[in-house]
Symmetry: C2
Subunit: 456 residues, 2 copies
């Protein structure tokens, strides 16, 4: 197909919206390691998990073999509210870079949660509602997940309790207001409302909080409250499953124009966006049907892939969760306070960890001032102010496109633009004022986190 | 066409994007009254206007006869970055209301300026660039126009000086940061940087500012700076012309599915959104080819249509601009500080004023707490947090849909959802906290503004 026929934005028709989720585990010869009960070190059973998670989600969490899982009608209907999302050809960015590369991005920011997080939020809220629960609890870092879950809970009329990492709560008062608009309660974490919160505050009264700590609080409240379960916006297998809608749409849009990507790039905090974006492509790669370079981009200040250990670790700071085998910096690792935005989780999706470990993916760590520089350039030429998280992917997409400029290669680069930065203006302000700094933990600093990892 | 075949979101294909703007003046038997030189009371000549505005825009401002004006390629290319915008069937809202009405909204918020304002900003920046200018000056109230213009200027590498109404500048620090991201300078108005600003501050040191006052400052700087012109985001004929892209897309999307609207609703501050949305529909109405109810919605706190006078008045507080014949509250009218968001202009587009005067349109004034109530309901069911301005249209669309519920009529309602409320969370917070109040100026208060209107 001639280049000229490829529109700026490829929108699938509504009837082309994927009707199933793609379970990448079914394609994996080496499955991700199971969650372990930290007491017995035995794989967590469905029964054990059901105290924390909704029953149907437990089933999805443990299902390593079903290739495609139908998207229930109620979720499908909600998806139509904001999906399909556009796959955008970055013609303007290409011009500015003067690259022969062809750059596409899958833009997930055109909904009020401002990110891809809504794809899993609505699924998790649906299963909670279907189980007859009164409400769900969760944590949020940058605030995108909490906002998404608030929207989903408002839709299904479920109570929604959000523990928000304190530094984000303070930097992003407006995030809290959006969640309130959707009827959620938002508590800065660590808080005095939970045992673990009180314990953490006693030990570290000045802590700015972390995702791991907020998870501990949300899990505690879910387990202690009748009719509540806990939900998580990343890391888990079920979340990557729901996010596969991003990758399936991307692939369908590319296929429609017979475009084959060479490189697929996504930012990686807990891994939900990247895991979703790459699902069908990684499927082909695992089945030997196609080859792609797949690159995870993480912040240099929280480098779980590039400097973490691939071991069993707790998912939360309070060590209340099961053990997951993943690349981790230790469950008490907290990124330096100068780190702006999300991608501040100490661990990484067990699925992506296994794939990375097995050599199916690369990982790159980037520093935040370079990320904001790429973000600003992107905003100016593509007209979208990107979230700091998404901008990690922009940074590496730009780097790869510039390599193509040097070599003259016309590679096709696809990256995930997970969301918008409308609630990240404090960080942008710091960047404009020249007050933003970079931080790379020393080996000694990382050793403190590693010391907390349980014996294998 | 069966109801079921109408998708949630109607996206035109890229090749269906309008290639011309629709000049509604060509359809009007009674043309809008010309701008007058306040000294001579003679119609402003192109030469006189060219000191303030770009030459090509002056031509568009004065052109009452050309039906369709081609969209230049450079602008068309930029439009493709964020257009076509979706026409959304509000299935979720209809369900919640239990109405037999069919509700559609044209959503203009999916770009970083957050509103329809970009449609005219890019056009005005283009003509400034084409004329070889170094930069442009403008005012902004809620901040949408200033953001849009910053984006447009960044694209064409023009300097951009924005005077921002002081109350918005203080309530919306993040708006300022977005504009800075796009390289604009932003000054709270009234400021000490202009003669008129210093004069207004001397007389009213505690003023929270107004659009009329910010316009005066921006015009002063443009006229006094070599290589600069002034641009305006609403009111003017040229702006309505550019915004007709909204209406043309809306009509094309409706026609594609053989949908004929009964009622078309838009919020009205200076009139740019409403004037653009209704252009092709009003054209049919003026030519006697179709009939539509067309409703302008304005805030009760700034009721230019419903309580203003249809007379010649200044466009700015400093009385530096030409006189425009329009519905006006007097150029020194400043809405009460409790008024949240935009739609705070004392006057109204001369085109819309003439059409309203001639009975082609209705107008309704609504109070802001009822507007935010509608906004919150809409956010919960349609998944978009609307701008306060846009929510005026939502409020009346909901009212009309509820009337249909009473009568059982299956009317088709189309309204303009001009933008998102991501930078209006201070107002949402007030609403949630029960601190938002309504304000309806008394006749005595309005009389103060009317007293400033020049003799006719």
């Amino acid at each position: 197909m001639s280049e000229k026929n490829i529109p700026y934005k490829i929108y699938l028709n509504e009837d082309e919206l994927p009707k199933v989720w793609h379970n990448i585990r079914a394609d994996m010869k080496v499955k991700p390691a199971p969650l372990l009960n930290p007491g017995t070190r035995e794989p967590m059973t469905a029964e054990e998990l059901s105290h924390v998670f909704c029953d149907e989600l437990v089933k999805q969490e443990l299902d390593n073999t079903t290739h495609f899982i139908p998207i229930p009608d109620e979720i499908y209907k909600f998806y139509k509210m904001y999906r399909p999302s556009p796959l955008v050809r970055a013609y303007f960015l290409e011009d500015v870079l003067g690259t022969p590369a062809k750059i596409y991005y899958k833009f997930e920011g055109n909904n009020t949660s401002g990110s891809h997080k809504l794809n899993s939020a609505i699924a998790q809220a649906y299963y909670a509602k279907k189980q007859g629960l009164c409400g769900i609890t969760t944590e949020t870092g940058a605030g995108q997940w909490g906002t998404a879950l608030s929207m989903a809970c408002a839709y299904f009329k479920l109570d929604c309790k959000v523990f928000m990492v304190k530094v984000s709560y303070e930097q992003k008062p407006f995030r809290r207001e959006v969640m309130r608009t959707y009827g959620a309660s938002v508590t800065p974490s660590p808080s005095m409302e939970t045992e673990i919160g009180r314990k953490i505050l006693a030990e570290h009264p000045d802590t700015t909080g972390s995702l791991g700590c907020a998870i501990s609080e949300a899990v505690e409240v879910a387990v202690k409250s009748e009719g509540y379960r806990y939900v998580l916006g990343s890391v888990l297998n079920q979340v990557l499953l729901h996010q596969s809608v991003v990758g399936l749409e991307t692939k369908a849009a590319l296929d429609k124009y017979s475009i084959k990507p060479d490189i697929i790039i996504g930012c990686a905090g807990g891994g939900s966006n990247l895991g979703g974006l790459i699902a069908p492509f990684m499927g082909e790669k695992l089945r030997g049907e196609a080859d792609y370079r797949i690159i995870a981009v993480e912040p240099a200040s929280c480098p779980s892939f590039t400097r973490g250990r691939y071991v069993y670790d707790f998912c939360d700071t309070g060590k209340a969760t099961p053990l997951a085998k993943m690349y981790t910096l230790g469950s008490n690792f907290i990124p330096a306070p100068n780190h702006a935005g999300g991608l501040r989780y100490h661990g990484m999706s067990p699925i992506l960890s296994q794939l990375y470990h097995d050599g199916y993916m690369e990982a790159v760590a980037v520093e935040q001032t370079s990320v904001f520089k790429a973000a600003e350039m992107f905003a100016k030429c593509e007209g979208i102010l990107p979230a700091p998280e998404s901008s990690h992917a922009i940074k590496v997409a730009v780097d790869e496109a510039l390599k193509c400029k040097e070599t003259g290669e016309e590679k096709t680069i696809v990256f995930g633009l997970t969301g918008t930065g409308y609630f990240d203006l404090v960080a942008y302000e710091k960047f404009h004022n020249g007050e933003m700094t970079d931080y790379i933990p020393t080996d000694e600093e990382l050793a403190v986190g590693f010391a907390e990892i349980p014996e294998q």
